[in-house]
Symmetry: D4
Subunit: 204 residues, 8 copies
């Protein structure tokens, strides 16, 4: 399969040496590279073989030689979060999309408890080709956004919350049961997967 | 304990004769009576001993000799539903409150997938002393209403939905994790319990 | 919001008279109409007011005055099932898409236990703009298809199975954890939701 | 929305610098401030910009410039715990209410295994306008108190317990199924939310 | 093993002919017989071969030739229920104990929402050698009784309830987490098992 | 209530100072004292005020001034474990019983995978007045022992295991569903509760 | 793939006509046929096109033209059940194996509550090449048999039980956590799958 | 029972001294020894008494004096993994089998998202007498391999994954519901158990 996307390394559970090895091989075949779930330590290891690697701390992503060609110049992915604690997952999505050559519009901290903040961003939301909604706790934002826009919504439940949030289960169930049409769901905290799917939609 | 509320019969799992017996005893001590989860058949049995009993079919409630004195003349309970399928639970709440002598404002079918319908009712919502939010599927309405009003919200998850709604579990978790403050939750489909709690708040 | 899609009635839990009333109102405003989760009885009721209504028995869908204009003439949605028992959910998806004016390619009974059957359809799969994968039991088909195509995959877990399938929970979890990128998930048995999302992708 | 309550910072998952920044902005607009789920370290950071900030260690709350005007001079919130391990959550509730200008009556360690201890406090319980019941393990206290008082009970399940308490799930289910009327429930360990709801009831 | 207890047939899922066959064999060896979970139909079948069989409708038990010798003349088992809907399970326990030759004291409908009703029976409770507590919904009665008596308490959760009672799971968890010492638990609705265990304790 | 048992301190989650304070008060009223879930550090603190306190490391119990009078000279509690990893919970049970003045027969490491080891202890098992069975993983030992003895069995599931043992849930469910009569169950890892219940049975 | 096994139709959820159609096609290519989960009605339909089809009522299996050649003349599969209610699942396994040309030794009703019954069959158990253990409720039999034999054990949890058996979940978890080595597990009630796997082992 | 297999020590939760003691006893009776779930520290302790002990770091296994005689010279166990993170569990299986005298063919990192990598190994897969499939996340590989080979497949779910993988539950359910016949399942991460079962099949 050839979609022209960068190569991706899921760093969680890999040693620094393993990540370096994989990175080296990819560099040698000239790939753009995205490393997700990477700690600062892993990044420092990668720097030794890829001195221009960039680290996005909040996203926990390493980027080497990102795509410079835009996936689609007129299309935008909006990445929306309910709270500030969801931003790390949102950044994983945003950095993924940007590394794939895609423009992102970040709309953060517009959870449904303060609807005015969300409604104030309606124009930006409606300009997006796809909307990624990132929310923990009760995850209600996906349904509300789904009702407001006329484009596909990809919902990312996050593990933010406590007690009966059950590490993201509550938000996951909320999003799967969305009464708004056009909402599909990826795994808890899977910002990367949401962005990948969004990019597939963008590139046609 | 004496709160002056009507006596209540939970009819589910009781035989017609049992309900009739309990009703008779209550009539004899002059009580107002509310029978919840009552089938048409149970109602017909009750009619034999309480000819002016009234049946609220959607609420599945029997009412005999309801309170005529208002709990509090200037206060209203708003009962809000997300969809039309939630109305039966909402009516259990509304009929309970009315039998207790409390005025109710029904605001039905204003789920978050069509936010304009909800926002169009903002004035009525904000006039209420307490708001009961009844919603199944993902139950997001409780959070949104909680963010819009400045009064206590009692959230009632319903068993409406399918698949990953797990008979109301999804809505229950959503409501427990509400990012809006001032929301407390009762059992799935427990319209009665929500109204009882609301009436306690009303009567001071 | 205006996306030009038909109006949809979710018939489960509505009386025949309710569905007839809603249908009548929609006919009067000239809408295309899709009724989902409709029994034969509901269809017969609708026939009285919409004599040219069509019933898709396997999909349990009623269609009145479907869209005749194609959403996008060159794009196809592939609807793929693992087994024959999943076909009813797949048909809900297919009929939804067709009612919305969208061409569908049905690829049924290609579950992963007989990989050759799936691989034999690789060309058709790869021609699709979006692929909807419908599978119960262990739901592994979504990951395999996700690995074979370079387009978005919408996974629909079904409640088909027994024992530890827990009414679709096993397939749902499988799909959410898909190791193939580009897979997003809708609720158990939600063929309608998958097709709606797919049509949003198609129409751009 | 304007309810005159202090501004609240949920400190969990925020860096010291983030909390300091938010606090500074709030101080500048003259707000009363409550910081919940705050570690000692966060408090020490806040002290640098708000030298009269007070730390409630058991509650893990920081209070700056609390409300001095009483919410309602004649009304009391009783905060009741089953065991001593539940006190930390109870204190989150009590400190919240006090910061909001509300008088609190603490009735601790009166779990149902020693009913006499609870019954000895009946007068204090019945004087309260609202009762917050904080209990882990089996959470039975909420039902018992609900049966003894004629005012709304807000039940807070705690994560105290082990084994089949499943981090508060057992207490949560107990409370949701309370056979006593007038009991509504908030999230596991959510002392803040219980107090917020109680204060809404108090202030009318 | 020889404990002299009657022979027991668990009738659920057995055909009338199977139960008759087993009963016949038992009669032939002169046993006392207890059939649990028996429908009226099964009883009528058994009557054909055991004309003096007795049917306890609420308990759904068939008794043939019960033990006439008392297990222990001075000891009593108290069987306590929270509500009237729990009586059927309680009767399974009571009839089991009686068939085993054991005196039972039934104390029904003394749930914790009306503590006075329970406290009014304190003398009877404290006279018992073992107490069986039968409760559904939140199952709090087991903890309260456990705190009041100084003898072993066997807790039987029932499937009575709805919504978040999850068919007895809530009551089961409550009872397992009881903060009162001396409480052990049997399966949901297992009145028979509770009585069997109690009789083992009685007979020494 | 007066059963003459020692006073018990559940040390988990209490500070050393708290435990010392409670211990001091108990010593002053001349109590026998059992501290459960106590770390070595807590013990060292207690030693300062109770120099003859004894620490049972495997049981994690502190004992001060244990009962010297036997509960019942002719009765024994057998404490049985499936594996060696269950011994810590078993010791909590054994030390509790011994501190209460009760003789214990320890029969360890006789899990069902090697039935001969269990059958070799049949005599000791059958001599016991009560049998406490402590088992993790699949917890099958409780059923097997229940079938072999004619006395009450108290089953203690442990959190020993991994994967689908779900921290003791598997063993708990096994024990609740025991096909052997006379088995009742306490919370996961609750050796103390099992022994307490057993002692109530012993003392009559 | 060619293993020479009969063709299998899973009849659950298929119409009589569908089963007849599939059967006809199979007959035409000369296959041996096994239909599982088949009602009496389906059998009667099949009889019309396969007059020598045999119906195994307890197993709910239809067999047409079974294998006459033995898989392996000297090897036996033992099929063991804990209770009589498990026999239907056991028969699905036994009939499957027999239809595949394999000799079966049925050892029924030897649950662990009466260990002597099991031990009395030790010789037969130890003669088997593979042992299929079928058990519901707590499913402990698999571990015990696993400890007694030195051959692979395939464990089949059944949905027999009530309350905390959760439709087979308890037995499933028990079997997955078996402390005896050599035990692997198939889905709840999946007698067919167990036999299929056993036959693969037999035929080498 | 005598199957001639090495003796096994499950080191998790044992102290170094305990493992050394058990090892010494085994050495003295001349056993081959396999220690599973052993940390480096435990290995170093064992080295003191068994200087030729070998440590397999990825497998976390200690081997002393492994079997030199082959279980069966012509038979192979294929151990297959979906990802690289599953290799540690796979190595527990492989080292177990090798210590038992069995040849292993390792086929790693052939997950279903890249089907070509799996299909490239079809020959090796089909040469195996038993196939052990080790997979986390969605665990789909077991079904696909089950469909490709004609020998028993033992599926080992791993705890690799995040979010809705629920520590291996998703993979476990997937494997239990496999639509491919001939697949049986062991506990999450139980590489040892899979290899043990496979060796029982091999040795006949
Ligand atoms: N099968 C389905 N599953 C989930 N949602 C559906 C389904 N069919 C229709 N809907 C949604 O239900 C809405 C109509 O609901 P209602 O107003 O209750 O008829 C439609 O606009 C769709 O968003
Ligand atoms: N302990 C708590 N539990 C749940 N919600 C809280 C808690 N403390 C504060 N909050 C909510 O969190 C909001 C502030 O969140 P943030 O903007 O992330 O600081 C407040 O307005 C409260 O609604
Ligand atoms: N290991 C244990 N598990 C459960 N409950 C215990 C345990 N040890 C002591 N307890 C109970 O905890 C009570 C003391 O709790 P506390 O007052 O918090 O020290 C005792 O009276 C016992 O009922
Ligand atoms: N990784 C493992 N997972 C499950 N069981 C194991 C494992 N390794 C060893 N065992 C079992 O544990 C037994 C030894 O347990 P123990 O006597 O506690 O050392 C062995 O006979 C095996 O049956
Ligand atoms: Mg939309
Ligand atoms: Mg509000
Ligand atoms: Mg793909
Ligand atoms: Mg009350
Ligand atoms: Mg007691
Ligand atoms: Mg017994
Ligand atoms: Mg064995
Ligand atoms: Mg196969």
């Amino acid at each position: 399969i050839r979609n022209g996307f960068p190569e991706v390394i899921y760093c969680e559970g890999k040693t620094i040496d393993q990540v370096k090895g994989i990175t080296l091989a990819m560099i040698q075949r000239g790939s753009s590279i995205l490393g997700t779930r990477a700690s600062k330590d892993v990044y420092e290891g990668v720097l030794e073989i890829a001195p221009d690697a960039v680290y996005h701390a909040s996203a926990k992503c390493i980027v080497v030689n990102p795509k410079t060609q835009q996936l689609h110049p007129e299309r935008t992915i909006a990445v929306v979060t309910a709270g500030t604690s969801d931003i790390s997952v949102a950044e994983e999505a945003a950095v993924t999309a940007e590394t794939f050559g895609q423009k992102v519009d970040r709309i953060y901290d517009v959870g449904v408890a303060g609807l005015h903040r969300l409604l104030a961003q309606l124009d930006r939301l409606r300009k997006a080709h796809v909307v990624i909604v990132v929310a923990g706790m009760e995850g209600a934002l996906a349904s509300v956004v789904g009702g407001l826009v006329d484009r596909p919504v990809i919902a990312v439940p996050t593990s933010i919350g406590y007690g009966a949030s059950f590490n993201g289960l509550a938000a996951l169930l909320t999003m799967l049961n969305s009464c708004a049409s056009g909402v599909s769901v990826v795994n808890i905290d899977n910002g990367f997967g949401a962005a990948y799917t969004a990019c597939l939609m963008i590139k046609d």
